[in-house]
């Protein structure tokens, strides 16, 4: 199959979710290059990842590994140069910045996602209250975005993403801009919500401990171009804490490999 065919297939597949899908997202030999003044620059090189339904996968990498580019491709905001990406429905996406619309209240932000998905008007309010309750922000329906703290904003953003009823949630360093205390709490929340909803999560981060704290599988990307360097399965039982010894131990191991990858660039 040529890459052209594969790409076309990828765009059509989202609609034809037929029998039982054995993956939430499937990336096959995905490469992406951008045109620069110095010629084509390869950002992602031959990435193959399967995310199973209900699986929590983190993509870990230093700057320049193309993490965000990869998420954009999976979200359908951009197309791969070669290879194919198929997802079980349209993925929901969460950013480092909350990206909530400041002209709407917290509740209306969530309702907009429901509206765009075609949820009938009379069901939206009730569903929104349910989602706010899920992220423990009941009673914040009428709050303006600027009246919420950073952590609360990211929880509303999470509720908005969940409102899309996607089978897979893409998260682009969603907690990187938060203070450490809030981040720890949101790790617990995310683990709980993931457990309650049975969503698949593809979580991008440069924080090794965060990756180990959250994921069932950690995929390490090398930088320039982004390639899959190594993969770990994390079978420490949830709920974990970021201070737990097994989390720290595995983090140490992964950090060593990550630093090895980074060191190569200094020697070139």
């Amino acid at each position: 199959m040529t890459s052209q065919e594969v790409t076309t297939m990828a765009t059509t597949l989202a609609k034809e979710t037929t029998a039982a899908v054995e993956y939430a997202a499937r990336l096959e030999h995905v490469s992406k290059s951008f045109a620069t003044p110095g010629g084509q620059q390869l950002v992602l090189d031959d990435i193959t990842i399967d995310v199973a339904p209900g699986e929590f996968v983190t993509l870990l990498g230093a700057s320049g590994c193309g993490k965000s580019t990869l998420l954009n491709l999976v979200a359908g905001l951009d197309r791969p140069s070669t290879g194919s990406i198929t997802t079980d429905g349209r993925p929901a996406l969460m950013f480092q910045e909350h990206a909530l619309f400041p002209w709407l209240t917290a509740g209306k932000n969530i309702e907009l996602a429901l509206k765009l998905r075609g949820v009938p008007k009379d069901q939206r309010r009730g569903r929104t209250e349910e989602l706010l309750e899920l992220v423990r922000l009941q009673g914040s329906y009428g709050k303006r975005v600027h009246e919420l703290s950073g952590g609360m904003r990211q929880r509303v953003a999470m509720a908005r993403a969940l409102a899309q009823e996607s089978r897979i949630l893409l998260m682009d360093e969603p907690f990187a801009a938060l203070d450490a205390i809030t981040r720890d709490v949101l790790h617990d929340e995310l683990t709980r919500i993931w457990g309650e909803t049975g969503l698949s999560v593809l979580f991008v981060t440069h924080n090794v401990r965060e990756a180990v704290r959250l994921a069932q599988r950690v995929i390490l990307l090398s930088s320039r171009p982004g390639r899959i360097a190594r993969e770990w399965t994390v079978d420490i039982p949830q709920p974990r804490r970021i201070e737990d010894a097994p989390v720290a131990e595995l983090s140490l191991e992964i950090t060593d490999v990550l630093r090895g990858e980074i060191r190569r660039h200094g020697q070139q």
């Binding site: 979200a75 359908g76 905001l77 349209r90 993925p91 929901a92 996406l93 950013f95 910045e97 990206a99 619309f101 400041p102 002209w103 709407l104 907009l112 996602a113 765009l116 998905r117 423990r136 303006r144 975005v145 600027h146 009246e147 919420l148 703290s149 950073g150 952590g151 609360m152 908005r160 899309q164 205390i181 809030t182 709490v185 617990d188 929340e189 709980r192 420490i236 039982p237 949830q238 709920p239 974990r240 804490r241 737990d244 010894a245 097994p246």
Partner: protein, 303 residues
């Protein structure tokens, strides 16, 4: 090593189960700590900070005027405050005062309304269509620096001395401001909002309606405000130049009538009214809208 690992894992499970129970209260505590307290200023604060200073400024102007009048001692150059006040009283008693104001204000607002209907789609097209933007974008911003009084002579030649000519001048003054405001509003929409909108399915017309337009609202409202200022100025220029009895007496004509009658008190009356109406419309109509838009987005800096 192996045994210690097992022990850690076990204790992790226990403590974590407890943690999940605690999380709710920790989270509630964090939320309470981070809560942004917003309170509207009291009337007293508003009075001291916003209302009192302009009253003082006005009082100073009046005092200077009262002192200068006997020094100049020439009512045809500087009429006394009481003479100007007398003009107001006469116009009021004759029942003309509100007529002057209404003639101009109704023209100005109707013209502005038409400018709104033309400027908004024009701005949207310029903002979104690259070719149109390259073609007329620079002309549109250039037109803003063209004094609208320059349009009065051609408008008189094309349309004659009538109301259509007035509206034409208003449109030429206000449309570029409104369109430009919308263009800069659209330009300043953070790309992140557009990406977030697209992942939720807000593409095409839905994207414009649910994301681009509301995000561009602050720039658009600023454009409307400026558009009104331009409308009002254009109208006054048109009324002063196109003085024709059938058109009725608006504020511009009042000013011109004062000049031809060498009645400085009437000239002052007209100037004060023009200034007053311009400020009043801005304060009553546009500023509240602008403040509401900015406050609801947390963009209004509390002083």
């Amino acid at each position: 090593m192996a045994s210690s690992e097992t022990r850690t894992t076990e204790s992790t499970g226990e403590s974590a189960a407890g943690t999940l129970g605690q999380i709710v209260s920790v989270e509630a505590g964090l939320d309470a700590l981070d809560l942004v307290v917003t309170s509207r200023p009291t009337f007293r604060q508003t009075f001291v900070n916003k209302i009192f200073p302009p009253i003082v400024a006005l009082a100073v102007v009046m005092v200077v005027w009262v002192i200068l009048t006997p020094i100049v001692d020439d009512p045809s150059k500087l009429p006394s405050p009481s003479a100007v006040g007398g003009e107001f009283k006469d116009a009021w008693l004759k029942g003309d005062l509100l007529g002057y104001i209404w003639t101009s204000v109704s023209r100005g607002l109707l013209g502005f309304f038409f400018a709104l209907l033309i400027g908004t789609p024009l701005g949207l097209v310029v903002a979104r269509v690259k070719f149109v933007r390259a073609a007329i974008g620079p002309i549109l911003s250039g037109l803003q620096s063209l004094p609208s009084v320059a349009w009065v002579p051609p408008a008189v030649i094309w349309l004659g001395l009538n109301n259509s000519m007035m509206y034409t001048v208003i449109l030429l003054g206000a449309v570029p401001s409104i369109a430009n405001g919308l263009v800069s509003g659209v330009d300043q929409v953070p790309p992140l909002f557009l990406r977030a909108g697209r992942t939720m399915g807000a593409t095409g017309v839905k994207g414009i309606w649910h994301v681009t337009l509301p995000a561009a609202l602050p720039g658009y409202v600023a454009g409307l405000k400026q558009g009104w200022a331009f409308s009002w100025r254009s109208l006054m220029a048109a009324e002063i130049i196109a003085n024709f009895p059938d058109l009725g007496v608006g504020l511009g004509q009042l000013l011109e009538n004062g000049r031809t009658a060498s009645d400085m008190a009437m000239v002052f009356e007209a100037i004060v009214l023009i200034l007053f109406v311009g400020i009043a419309i801005d304060l009553l109509l546009f500023s509240p809208v602008e403040r509401w838009v900015l406050r609801s987005r947390g963009l209004l800096v509390k002083s």
